[in-house]
Symmetry: C2
Subunit: 408 residues, 2 copies
């Protein structure tokens, strides 16, 4: 079996963590920020040095291609270089750098492939500066309208379209990844959770991305003075919200051990310590690979009483996502290579969304997960041990080679 260079991979990781270094070990690298543009430029420089052909599409996605021996569709691997504020060095970046290291290995070890092999950098996976997340893969696969995305503004009022044009990475629509010119898409990513570490395994063989629902629950009461309104006359929207959160925590907690749900966002109006809260909105995000169990969460929300603690209660779907199942043949190849390389591994579903889940609608796709130390992600402490990064890259390399040989 072929393997990539651990030293080269280590150097790549060290080189890219400088772009947007946030001070506590991680990075702040929103899409098209100076830091992200530096990372993109360094990526292109390294690709050119390896003799790859660099192209860009109309969303700023970068495609760096090593030619193949035959005139065949490309095998693509990639991820993203943008990050959330004070995020880590591995989310997205590791997928780009392991893909680059795979091609580096093909070049340096003179491994010829029949198919061209492409390293792809997806624009704006995080959606941290310009929501939504997975913006460009969403446009590529028809989930989002391109015009609507170009008009999205960041906090300073700049549109995505303006930032894209100013970036210097605007290319042509004809360069978009597509099912005619591409054979498969592979994305290595950190797990962003503790499952692999807890199981003591190095490789997650990703079967799909779990479905989710995201709702906003609203409680509406009556603002009034904190010092004068007797308790019995109050309609306190925060009290109602706290009761509903506690109640749902209990109820949803009984559905299934693998169901995860999060009340991550809350806002309270007027949010003044001397005024009884008038309106509270909070989010509920729930995920499970089994759509029936996600549906039970929705049922629990829809059966909330219309009134709690004197407040009107309503809920509204913000969005939902069906479970994505990756290409079974590709999943089997990943599993086979992890086994053949002697790496401990297990099947896993992804909780977070990834560009790969949209790509699967376009062409055969799968993912490879590597463990996150203590399950931490979207924070500066985010880390994956170098050895695990290297093992993941080796699985990726051999999967590309298998696809090259078998799926032609």
């Amino acid at each position: 079996m072929h393997t990539v260079s651990k030293e080269r991979l280590e150097d790549k990781i060290a080189a890219f963590m400088k772009f947007g270094a946030a001070g506590q070990g991680g990075i702040t690298r929103p899409v098209f920020s100076p830091a992200e543009l530096e990372a993109r430029a360094e990526f292109q420089r390294r690709c050119t040095e390896l003799g790859l052909t660099v192209e860009r599409d109309d969303l700023g996605n970068i495609y760096a291609t090593k030619s193949g021996a035959e005139k065949l569709p490309r095998i693509a691997m990639g991820s993203h270089l943008d990050s959330v504020a004070c995020g880590g060095n591995y989310d997205g970046t590791l997928g780009v750098l392991t893909a680059l290291e795979v091609v580096d290995t093909l070049v340096k070890d003179n491994i010829a492939t029949r198919h061209p092999v492409t390293v792809m950098v997806c624009t704006n996976e995080e959606g941290a500066r310009f929501p939504p997340a997975m913006m460009s893969s969403g446009v590529l696969t028809g989930k989002f309208s391109k015009d609507a995305m170009l008009a999205v503004r960041d906090d300073s009022g700049v549109t995505f379209g303006e930032a894209l044009r100013a970036s210097g990475f605007l290319g042509e629509e004809k360069n978009r990844i597509n099912p005619v010119d591409y054979l498969a898409y592979l994305e290595l990513h950190i797990e962003q959770g503790p499952v692999l570490q807890d199981a003591g395994v190095s490789i997650g063989v990703v079967q799909g991305v779990v479905g989710m629902c995201n709702y906003t629950v609203t409680t509406r009461g009556q603002a009034n003075h904190a010092g004068t309104t007797p308790m019995k006359k109050r309609r306190d929207a925060l009290h109602a919200a706290a009761l509903i959160i506690c109640g749902l925590y209990e109820k949803l907690g009984r559905i299934d051990d693998n169901l995860v749900f999060t009340f991550g966002h809350i806002d309270c109006r007027p949010n003044i310590h001397t005024i009884i809260p008038e309106e509270v909105n909070f989010s509920l995000d729930a995920r499970h690979q089994d759509p029936i169990l996600v549906r039970r969460v929705v049922d629990a929300l829809e059966s909330l009483p219309a009134e709690t603690a004197g407040c009107q209660v309503s809920c509204k779907e913000a969005w939902s996502r069906k479970t994505t199942t990756f290409d079974p043949e590709l999943v089997a190849i990943v599993k086979k290579n992890a086994d053949a390389l002697g790496y401990s591994n297990r099947f896993i579903y992804s909780g977070p969304g990834h560009d790969a889940q949209y790509m699967q609608d376009l062409l055969p796709t799968t993912m490879i997960f590597v463990p996150s130390v203590n399950g931490m992600s979207h924070c500066e402490e985010e880390k994956t041990e170098l050895d695990d990064c290297w093992k993941g890259a080796n699985v990726l390399l051999n999967t590309v080679l298998d696809i090259d040989g078998r799926l032609a």
Copy 2:
């Protein structure tokens, strides 16, 4: 018994609701805003027209004085003209306008007093633009340092001192209200709660201002990805906060029917729907006239378990306020006049703070409450029926006359 003119009072209320009209019947009139300066100018214009002497002190407080027959200390009445954002036309303003109407009546009805009678406009009672509330009465009574207050900035970076100088209302320190030159301070105010309306009475004979405590409770967990972290591994700060709020609601609710407590402010970090909350801070404001019961609230907070739902729990006093008891002789005169005028009335403690509570530390002080329709305040719907405003002004007039005759 003398009475004021209901028509003149109605005209005054109608005239002043124009300054800062917010569109839904109420006003937005932060201190030294163009709208508040217009209201101050109109107040001064009307005072000058009545032949009063207008003075200002070094905090922009206005003193409009009708001279007395003898060389005696002044009897002061007043309140404030500033408002919260989208507040009502009665909070503060009614106290100024009824005081003005009392003097108007003394002038028009040729009622001579032995003591000079002063209408006072207090600067920045609300603290909405420049915190804290009751800023100038706090400085007058040594609660706050003047230098510190002059340095307080509004959201746009302007200091209170700069706004004060620019206002044209900066006067001299020697004009401050003080216990040598003043005999008493009276403040008529809307109740800002539903107690008087519910009791079906027109006059609240205010015995004092209830004590309060204000705490910030903090729950600290661990931020992590909403899609990947199994429920059993979570330390969710919002879950902990919701449990504590629900628990305290039950526990504090059993202390006493007259205890009021409010969780009015909450902030959650990072407050992103896909991330488990790391830290939540929420406020608890609790008020009761009996300090022992306020202490029981503090005890409940201090005995919170150090850990809830895997999160560290801590609490910190933001501030507290002792119960203020108004001058018993003045309280008795208010009661006597309400009875003598045939107005239904009851004793009451104020939940909200007022400049009068600080003034009581300087000189004999009391307040007169009139009912708030549906207990609403700090909102545009805030209203007191004209008849109740008029009755309150009549109690105020006769109380001034009694003080003039009895307490010399």
